[in-house]
């Protein structure tokens, strides 16, 4: 008797979770996996100037891409951009989180204020900085002019026209918009550290710097790990800041792989798709290397 009903019932029981996770799986399949398939497919296709798919052309897109004289510069810049922005963001976030973990009058307002760069659209922030850096009327330039540091309308005041200075300002904006998330991630980590460990440390005679290095930082590792990882992916893929402020120009001299990919798409969709595939692979490699070196499993499980 029991054996007759149990297969059906056990299938039903096994399928019940599907009911709950099904929509999520469908969403991921349609929104995440399918575009990946199309991306890989396009990287092997010849696509005409008007967007028509002409046919498959094997590895030609990759070959064209690797022969681009600008590619090595773009890759190197992507490395500087990602490492620079993430390291600076994390260092400032650690300090900011420490500050916001203290009790001080107006802390609530200060914490709210930190959310603003996060709440604003990144494109808008980038636009505001672009205008603020305008060579003849930008507010930053007017300020620097009043301090006697730059002359309005001069070559020097045209920050975004000079590739090196443009990179500096764009990295500054990238740090600015990345700070809130990292700071809050670390702040929540800080709040999870029980007070008695500090008590024990001070009983052992640890200075505050020592207790920060040997108590706080180790206990913060999971939070720092997650924040760094998410930052790496975000900054590596960051598009709106560079696109709004310089479009990667002149001559790709301020392009990272993400903006370079969009720039070459206007002329050659297939080649752009092949760079997209490489970008995708790079992110996966970076994440695996990072997780392996930080032994994340021990950290997070512990």
């Amino acid at each position: 008797m029991a054996s007759r009903t149990s297969p059906l019932r056990s299938i039903g029981r096994a399928a019940t979770p599907l009911l709950w996770i099904g929509p999520a799986i469908a969403l991921i399949a349609v929104v995440v996996l399918w575009p990946v398939v199309v991306m890989i497919q396009s990287s092997f296709q010849r696509i005409g100037g008007e967007g028509y798919v002409v046919g498959y052309n094997g590895l030609d897109n990759f070959r064209t891409l690797f022969h681009e004289p600008y590619l090595s510069g773009v890759l190197l810049r992507t490395l500087v951009w990602t490492v620079g922005v993430v390291v600076v963001t994390m260092l400032i976030s650690l300090a900011l989180a420490q500050l916001f973990n203290q009790r001080f009058p107006g802390r609530r307002v200060a914490r709210w204020a930190l959310i603003i760069p996060w709440a604003c659209s990144v494109m808008m922030t980038a636009l505001i900085f672009r205008w603020a850096l305008d060579r003849s009327a930008g507010v930053i330039n007017v300020f620097l002019h009043d301090l006697g540091l730059v002359k309005l309308g001069s070559n020097h005041a045209d920050w975004l026209g000079n590739p090196h200075w443009a990179m500096f300002w764009m990295m500054l904006v990238a740090v600015f918009v990345s700070l809130p998330f990292s700071t809050y991630a670390i702040l929540s980590g800080l709040q999870g550290i029980p007070g008695d460990v500090y008590e024990a440390a001070s009983l052992d005679g640890a200075t505050s710097w020592r207790s920060y290095r040997h108590v706080t930082l180790p206990l913060l590792r999971p939070a720092i790990l997650v924040a760094t990882l998410i930052n790496i992916i975000n900054v590596f893929n960051s598009f709106p800041i560079i696109w709004e402020m310089t479009k990667g120009g002149p001559g790709y001299q301020t392009s990272t792989t993400t903006t370079y990919m969009v720039a070459i798409k206007q002329g050659n969709v297939g080649e752009s798709a092949s760079l997209s595939v490489i970008n995708f692979a790079l992110v996966i490699v970076i994440v695996i290397v990072y997780l392996a070196t930080t032994k994340w499993k021990e950290q997070v499980d512990a």
């Binding site: 967007g51 045209d158 026209g161 000079n162 120009g249 002149p250 002329g267």
Partner: protein, 415 residues
């Protein structure tokens, strides 16, 4: 009761009339075979708002045309420029062919045999400006018919010139450099050089022409020719001396044209489209600026960059006779001139160009138009153009020879 009766009587009369008309063949012919005599006219929208929308302009022509030809109806569809190419492609892919399009023109439609030749749908195809014939031709036959054109001249600010003690417009590169230096000394931008991604391919070509170069020679890319390197070496020195705005490789045309309109730039290469910008800014009076031929290395050029938008006639609906009637009607000088006045563009027919040649504002643009140079029209141009837009600006800060060489490499490996 009475109402219903009159209604019925009226209906019966209408029916009878229709039948009679159909029998006598007066009610619009059905000879085309497709069962419909409505021409589908698809145009790009040149307007900046509802007041000067292109649909309104074309409807004006259509109303006149339908009055003169009551047996042919024309339905106007206007599409914003940004979607034009894509929507026409969709119509063709779905086999909902338009009869006539006006806007961008694709030679692949001619290649696929979808278009009527110009000589099939125009009584006087020779009246189209010959300079633009090659661009619309496939296998020696013209399919793309220029509808409106535009060309470049040098605009200069007479007020700034007077302040800087310059009496005449520049004729040679040496003049231009000397004038730009004097203007710079007065604190304004001497020469506006937009080599940013927006339209670097246009500005670059004008300077190449000035040295006797260009993108192609006899249909082959020669981007790194000696003449072109000379042109960019000159520009590099101009930039180094501070006679242009800072970092031209990052500055776009739209922004610089605005600055010229604000009276902040001494000289700039422009098209008729700059005129409404100057007028709208309200800083310069008509007498404060003038436009002269493009400055070349050794003297003013008798040629310039010319661009055109085209009419194409699709053959899928078999409306050749009706299309011919409509195009002959629409290509009259008065509509050509009205269109160009409305949108600050130039005519595309010889007769209309002649009629406008003495116009004080448009005259200078027209003199060089018949000898104008066009962009390359081969299939690799789209890719080459993108690369030029994105990288040629670095030729005035880096090594001109190297930058142009890389572009040449892209162009030749793509084709």
């Amino acid at each position: 009761m009475k109402h219903k009766l009159t209604g019925r009587v009226a209906g019966a009369i209408a029916l009878a009339t229709a039948t009679a008309l159909a029998l006598t063949g007066c009610g619009g012919s059905s000879s085309s075979g497709s069962g419909s005599d409505t021409l589908k006219l698809v145009v790009a929208d040149y307007g900046t708002g509802p007041d000067n929308a292109s649909s309104k302009f074309w409807q004006g022509i259509v109303d006149d045309f339908e009055k003169a030809n009551p047996d042919i109806k024309v339905k106007v569809t206007s599409i914003p420029w940004t979607n034009f190419d894509q929507q026409v492609q969709t119509m063709v892919q779905n086999k909902q062919f338009p009869d006539i399009t006006e806007g961008d023109y694709f030679s692949n439609y001619a290649q696929d045999g979808l278009l009527y030749k110009a000589s099939d749908v125009l009584s006087k195809p020779d009246n189209l400006l010959p300079a633009f014939k090659d661009q619309g031709s496939y296998n020696g036959e013209q399919y793309g018919m220029p509808w409106t054109t535009s060309s470049r001249t040098l605009f200069y600010n007479k007020k700034i010139f007077a302040d800087a003690g310059i009496s005449d417009a520049p004729k040679t590169w040496a003049d231009l450099q000397a004038d730009a230096a004097k203007i710079k000394a007065k604190g304004e931008t001497g020469f506006g050089l937009p080599l940013g991604a927006e339209e670097a391919q246009a500005e670059s070509l004008l300077w190449m022409l000035g040295a006797g170069g260009g993108y192609q020679t006899d249909g082959k890319y020669t981007i790194d020719s000696a003449a072109n390197v000379t042109a960019f070496t000159f520009l590099k020195n101009l930039v180094k001396a501070g006679d242009t705005e800072p970092n031209p490789g990052t500055v776009n045309r739209t922004d610089l044209w605005q600055q010229f309109a604000q009276g902040k730039v001494g000289m700039i290469n422009g098209s008729p489209a700059l005129i409404p910008i100057i007028q709208k800014a309200g800083v310069l009076q008509d007498s404060d600026w003038a436009s002269v031929p493009i400055v070349g290395q050794n003297g003013p050029l008798d040629t310039t960059l010319g661009v055109c938008d085209n009419v194409a006639a699709f053959n899928a609906n078999g409306h050749q006779a009706q299309i011919k009637k409509f195009l002959d009607f629409a290509y009259q000088d008065k509509y050509q001139l009205a269109f160009d006045k409305e949108y600050d563009l130039l005519p595309a027919t010889t007769s209309a160009a002649d009629a406008l040649a003495s116009d004080p504002i448009f005259g200078p643009f027209l003199t060089a138009l018949p000898k104008s140079i066009q962009y390359p029209s081969d299939t690799s141009w789209a890719n080459v153009k993108t690369k030029i837009q994105q990288t040629i600006g670095t030729a005035v800060t880096g090594d001109p020879k190297q930058v142009l060489g890389q572009l040449q490499q892209t162009a030749t490996s793509a084709s």
